[in-house]
Amino acid sequence: MFESLQHLANGFGIAGTVQNLLYCLIGCIVGTIIGVLPGIGPIAGIALLIPATFGLNPTSAIIMLAGIYYGAMYGGSTTSILLNVPGETASVITCIDGYKMAQKGRAGPALAIVAIGSFIAGTIGIFGLVFLAPPLAEAALAFGPPEYFSLMVFGFIVLSNVTGASLLKSLMMAVVGLIIGTIGIDPVTGDARFAFGSTYLLGGIEFVAVAIGLFGIGEVLVNVNQPSELLDQGVLMPRLRELYPSLQDLKKSIGAILRGAVSGFGIGLVPGPAPVIATYASYMIERKVSKHPEEFGKGAIEGVAGPESANNSACQSAFIPLFVLGIPFAPPTAILLGALLIHGVSPGPLMISQHAGLFWGVVASMYIGNFMLLILNLPFVPLFANILRIPKRILLPLVILFCMTGMFTVNSSVFDIWMMLLFGVIGFLMRKWAYEGAPLLLALVLGPKLEIAFRQSLMISHGDFGVFVNRPISMVFLLAMAIFLIFPAIRLMFKKSKKGGIKS
């Protein structure tokens, strides 16, 4: 423990040099701006700015790129809250209550609680990283394909319970997302699938196109379809004193922040798109423990505080598998892995000993970065919240232009814009028929990983499905899934019989 603390102190020494502080600050600012611009998420942001780090030493380069990563994650939450456009999957859940809060004129408290929650979660995350990283990283090694599969299926069930009024509808959307995720190249055999001879479809459907389409364009189309006079009714304008969270908001949020930070950290260590699952799991937990679960989905501040803290915490702990195992489990960390390799650093079990300065320097810089984000973002809350003062007749075309621009920047492809428009129309229809977009989006991201885990598990077991229940960790996830599925049904039956009893 003391050794870890000593390493961390050294890390602060490295991250605290003027040069590294400056790169961390640049990363945070650029990341926040990139995250705020709808369409450009952390993936595109990091990828675009890797060439800018070629002249830097590896530690400064990774500190800056990591700053862009969590800065963009923060900025992505801003667009989720203000415009219902998630910068990346981890911000999808923030749209549910964050956007509702903004519509009620409470964008300021939502944005501020994201900054405060992220900072607290970051503080908890760094202590967890120092003390729990070695044993937890070892535990994560015990995961094989059946465990991955069960974990991801569990994630879907959690998510389907979280979103929407109907579990059946959410599950349907998850399966639709999984099907869309199969378009492209078969991850096991390498054969083309549902490409219909198109070279564009061979690469699969771009996640960003689906995310912007379903959420951003879909929301705009819903607004455009309203009678003209409704376009003049803006969202409720916040008064100055309403721009920051009240004492009651903070009281409501603190439990959610702490729970989100702890659960997010644990989930971040587990292989998989940790920040995404962490946000959904946190939302689920908050809804379960809340005395007013009916407020969720209508602008509950706990629905923003918990997931955003979990997101930040999971982002930090997700660096452990990246650094210790050399395996990135999410697209942004995959790009960071590429950046590490470009700078001549090979992540893996020997990284901490061979590149101790870089590892602990980056860990310490994350904490400094979180503090910078808090200082940078809190004063800008009124500015961001005031975006909502722009009349809808002007804001909607602006959102469309940003979405189209952002979409094109990802792959410089007009085909992606077509896909975005197609999913925009689908998003519009989904709203019309009251379907949730979040399960579809998560399934699209997890789909290829789920398929690989499914097929590899069956290969290992020679086609025996018992492999999913014979292995203890996998069985635990499946049991948890069964409880999630059965418990609400039993509760509903119990409620009905109670009502019936009262009536009779």
Partner: protein, 154 residues
Amino acid sequence: MKRDEIVGGIVIFLFGMVTALFSLGMPIGTFRMGGTGLFPLCLGILLMILSGLFISKIFFQGKKDQVKKEGSFESSESPTQLILFLGAMVLATLFFNRLGYPLTSFLLMVALLRILGIKRWGLSILISVVTAVGCYFVFVQWLSIPMPKGWIGI
């Protein structure tokens, strides 16, 4: 609303059916050594089962399990505006490469603002110019993102 729910369910059922049918055209293999079509086939069948359950639930349970009004909205409230808006987006995408980024963004903004009821030409053009120039400087000049130059060549 019930009709909308059933239409939505049927569309999803058909999507599952089409997926399953296309998957059958690919190698399926066995569970031990799954082929390319195995996973989408399973998903297609699963989607058909889920949507079938959903349709029958709506059909038989009637109004009891209908979703709350809040999750939905009345359709066809401003269909002309919606179609024009979508049309402008489609045209902008179609001519994106040929017209170039600055010109497309300017024309798209003018069109969308007019469709949404900003009737004063001066205001529409002013907002569009400011937006197009601003976007050009942020994305092309500052972030150095290669955007289509089109025939105007910037």
